[in-house]
């Protein structure tokens, strides 16, 4: 592929998205920042943490093109299904945008991985990844999403996709949507009465007489 063409495509992709997103964002930017500052700097935070958070919350690392690409990728990794919403429903991109500032060691692997992906797409489809159609996007993702069957020349893409899968899963399953999806039912005051009877039965287990006698039990009915 023509090298100049691919660089031009990259530049256009970046600039165009950037302008568009900035225009949408500016009106409610201040409100959003104030909300997250209040949300993440409460009395459970030490003074030094709050100072640090205010500093990193104001920083930005990714370009708008990178953010848009992350969103497309994250929604491929975690799409809406019968059980729950998608990565973008759970605002996974916001999480990834923050975590690379909080953990700078992620910056180069992700930025470089995104560029690697764009270059693959430019060579093959003459478009950056996010501007490819869904079929093209899946074609390239299929070559980096399966570590054991990926071709040796795609290994850098595999490493990038593994990291994206990890961060997307963290962003999603630690969101309200994701916690509900995976079925974590704790984090609420209750009384622990042991493993439910039907579950004990399912695994052929039972509490011993000693355990029943010595362990605390609660009358949840009363």
């Amino acid at each position: 592929m023509d090298r100049r063409k691919s660089i031009k495509a990259l530049l256009i992709g970046t600039a165009a998205t950037g302008v568009f997103v900035e225009a949408c964002k500016n009106s409610d930017k201040k409100v959003t920042e104030e909300t997250t500052l209040t949300k993440f700097t409460g009395p459970e935070r030490m003074v030094e943490e709050n100072e640090y958070y205010k500093k990193v919350a104001a920083e930005k690392f990714f370009t708008e093109h990178e953010l848009a690409t992350i969103t497309v990728l994250a929604d491929i990794i975690i799409p809406r299904d019968a059980v729950s919403g998608s990565a973008s429903d759970a605002k996974v991109t916001d999480f990834i945008a923050f975590i690379v500032i909080d953990m700078p060691s992620n910056q180069t692997p992700i930025r470089g991985g995104l560029r690697w992906l764009d270059m693959q797409c430019l060579k093959r489809f003459e478009k950056t990844f996010k501007d490819c159609d869904a079929k093209q996007q899946i074609e390239i993702v299929d070559e980096i999403a399966y570590p054991k069957k990926a071709k040796p020349e795609m290994q850098q893409g595999v490493a990038f996709f593994n990291l994206m899968r990890n961060l997307t899963a963290t962003g999603f399953y630690t969101s309200e949507i994701g916690v509900k999806d995976v079925g974590y039912l704790g984090n609420t005051p209750n009384q622990w009465n042991g493993v439910p009877d039907d579950v004990l039965k399912q695994y052929g287990l039972s509490y011993s007489e000693k355990e029943l006698k010595e362990c605390v039990s609660f009358d949840n009915k009363g």
């Binding site: 949300k39 993440f40 459970e44 030490m46 003074v47 030094e48 943490e49 491929i76 990794i77 975690i78 799409p79 019968a82 059980v83 999480f95 923050f98 975590i99 909080d102 953990m103 993702v141 399966y146 570590p147 054991k148 595999v158 996709f161 593994n162 899968r165 990890n166 899963a169 963290t170 962003g171 399953y173 630690t174 969101s175 309200e176 994701g178 916690v179 999806d181 995976v182 079925g183 974590y184 039912l185 704790g186 984090n187 609420t188 005051p189 209750n190 622990w192 042991g194 493993v195 439910p196 039907d198 579950v199 004990l200 399912q202 695994y203 287990l205 509490y207 010595e214 362990c215 605390v216």
Partner: protein
């Protein structure tokens, strides 16, 4: 520095206590309740779990979803301010040293986040030299400490069971919680291969204490964040708060102790400290000085308290201060239980920590290491946090998922199915054992380095011996056997070997620092006498982990509390008799 001056307090206290963790909190509690006037000096800010705990926060209420930071090495919701490093307060390493030093800078210290594992030492634990010839015997025995363990069980609250074990003594226990599902798997598997599994012993209130209805456990599993309902033991909530309520305690926070002050007679007169709030220098005075700043921090304070009378640092005529520094040993392994794939969902938070554990069960005379270890178990449905099912590509091609063999990795709706399928099927185990306290494993003052307050810092010079490495090897073999016996597959910690000391954690990493100012009958070989009192300076005491001669295969907090209570009652008596 133009406005720099030393401000001397005019008030004369009965005691100045440095540090508000388990030892200092207990000393303040006992002294204040006996009517004595106390100044409690804490290097960190005030902390009340009721106000400052992150309990019940959901993962999305952390911008980093609970990941760790330098401020919270155990995760963004953890109850400890700082940890392996504190900005502006460095420590250094001698060549080859890998000591990891945890410092919690806050009221209550590290008791705000600890595991609440509250194990009494047994009779053998005070007399190890008599048994295996290594280290030293304590100048006291179990019978000396037992009455204090008994009182603490009832004052603070602990669950467990009386099993009649010879070296894991019975106590005054609240009923334990029933085992979780993976714990029943562990128990069945371990018991089948001759490894005992009994209810754990944690200072968490499964029931309210008869004499205290203000504290409550609601089984959220988040003791590590500190408890807003005071349902577990933290020094901040359970000791310092009631001590302050007596009106006999003046609490000074953000106060970094610099030196123990002395008079011409060599008696301690008080403490000098720098305030982190205004950076001014202060002095407070008392009839007694009680150090409880942590084993290493108390040793540092003694070594930095030099005068013509005490050229090697106060209480250090023996040269022992800083020596015999030791931590618990630790090695871990984890796996996945295929039988638990696709589990039915329910809330199994339980209490914060394991409901069952394995006390040491073997005879060291038949083994190639002299001291034992206990095993802690983890697993089940944890709150999803940063790192949730990280590297699932190593797992989802290895098992049939809903009857289907998939290619490892992947994405999309199929991947979402995988995360659901594996949730709650993990299990982990951690061995925590006793190492040998050695004179040549120690901390000292670094001659070249000071912290941001100008206080000379500690340089560590610690190492493990083959005893600890052999013990870690045994832990790993045991974990593999248990995991195999329960049908689990090792997913991490299975590749350790001689190349990395079998996964033995660096010294300090288990956060049970002890031994730096050990007690003993011989003033030439010990810093303190059997009352936690300096041999050299009779009104100076140390009631933290520093006084330990050896630390058993038990977490040390319950014994710190017992010894601090014992020393404090002794101080009350001695002050009454005007002996101090």
């Amino acid at each position: 520095m133009g406005d720099f001056q030393i401000k001397k307090q005019t008030k004369q206290y009965d005691a100045v206590i440095v540090g508000s963790g388990a030892g200092g909190g207990m000393a303040a509690y006992v002294l204040a309740n006996a009517g004595l006037k106390v100044c409690l000096v804490e290097a960190g800010p005030n902390f009340d779990p009721a106000v400052n705990s992150a309990q019940f926060k959901n993962p999305w209420e952390s911008p980093r979803r609970g990941a760790s930071t330098k401020f919270r090495p155990f995760g963004d919701f953890d109850g400890s301010y700082w940890g392996w490093q504190v900005d502006g307060e460095p420590y250094t390493h001698a060549e080859g040293d890998k000591w990891e030093w945890w410092r919690a800078r806050m009221l209550g210290g590290r008791t705000n986040h600890w595991g609440r594992i509250s194990l009494r030492f047994g009779p053998k634990d005070f007399k190890r030299k008599s048994i295996d010839g290594l280290g030293d015997d304590w100048p006291i025995g179990y019978e000396d400490v037992k009455p204090y363990y008994d009182k603490i069980d009832q004052l603070i609250g602990i669950f467990g069971t009386n099993e009649g074990l010879p070296n894991d003594p019975d106590g005054f226990f609240l009923p334990p919680p029933k085992p979780r599902l993976h714990e029943l798997f562990v128990k069945r598997a371990a018991t089948n291969i001759g490894i005992p599994v009994i209810p754990s012993r944690l200072s968490i209130l499964t029931k309210q204490l008869p004499n205290n209805k203000d504290r409550n456990c609601v089984f959220c599993g988040q003791c590590g964040r500190s408890c807003k309902l005071y349902g577990d033991f933290s020094s901040s909530s359970v000791l310092v708060k009631p001590a302050l309520a007596t009106g006999n305690v003046d609490l000074v926070t953000n106060a970094m102790a610099r030196e123990v002050l002395t008079n011409k007679e060599g008696l301690a007169t008080g403490i000098s400290y720098v305030s982190k709030d205004d950076l001014q220098e202060y002095q407070v005075f008392g009839k007694t000085v009680i150090l409880a700043a942590s084993a290493c921090e108390s040793a540092r304070l003694m070594l930095n308290s030099k005068s013509p009378r005490y050229p090697n640092g106060i209480a250090n005529s023996s040269g022992v201060v800083g020596k015999y520094l030791h931590d618990s040993t630790g090695a871990d392994m984890g796996g996945i239980i295929p039988e638990l794939f696709d589990r039915k969902r329910y809330n199994e938070d339980g209490v914060g920590g394991m409901h069952v554990y394995t006390p040491w069960w073997l005879d060291n005379k038949k083994l190639d290491f002299p001291r034992g270890y206990h095993i802690e178990y983890g697993g089940g449905f944890g709150m999803p946090l940063y790192g949730f099912q990280w590297d699932i590509e190593n797992l989802n091609g290895a098992y049939k998922i809903k009857g289907k063999q998939k290619e490892a990795g992947g994405y999309g709706a199929s991947l979402k199915e995988d995360y659901r399928y594996f949730f709650g099927a993990h299990v982990g185990m951690a061995g925590r054992g006793e190492g040998i306290a050695r004179e040549d494993s120690y901390c000292e003052i670094d001659p070249n380095v000071v912290d941001k307050y100008g206080i000379p810092v500690l340089r560590f010079h610690t190492s493990w011996s083959s005893y600890e490495v052999n013990q870690a090897k045994h832990m790993k073999e045991t974990f593999k056997e248990i995991l195999h016996s329960m049908g689990a597959v090792v997913t991490w910690g299975g590749d350790d070997g001689p190349h990395n000391n079998y996964g033995l954690h660096n010294p300090g990493n288990i956060i049970h620092e002890a031994g730096t100012v050990r007690m003993g009958n011989d003033p030439k070989k010990s810093v303190l006498n059997k009352w936690s009192q300096s041999h050299d300076c009779k009104n100076l005491f140390c009631v933290d982990g520093g006084q330990f001669v050896s630390q058993a295969d038990k977490n040390i907090t319950w014994t710190i509390l017992a010894l601090a209570m014992r020393a404090s009652e002794h101080i009350v008596d001695e002050l009454k008799k005007q002996n101090l």
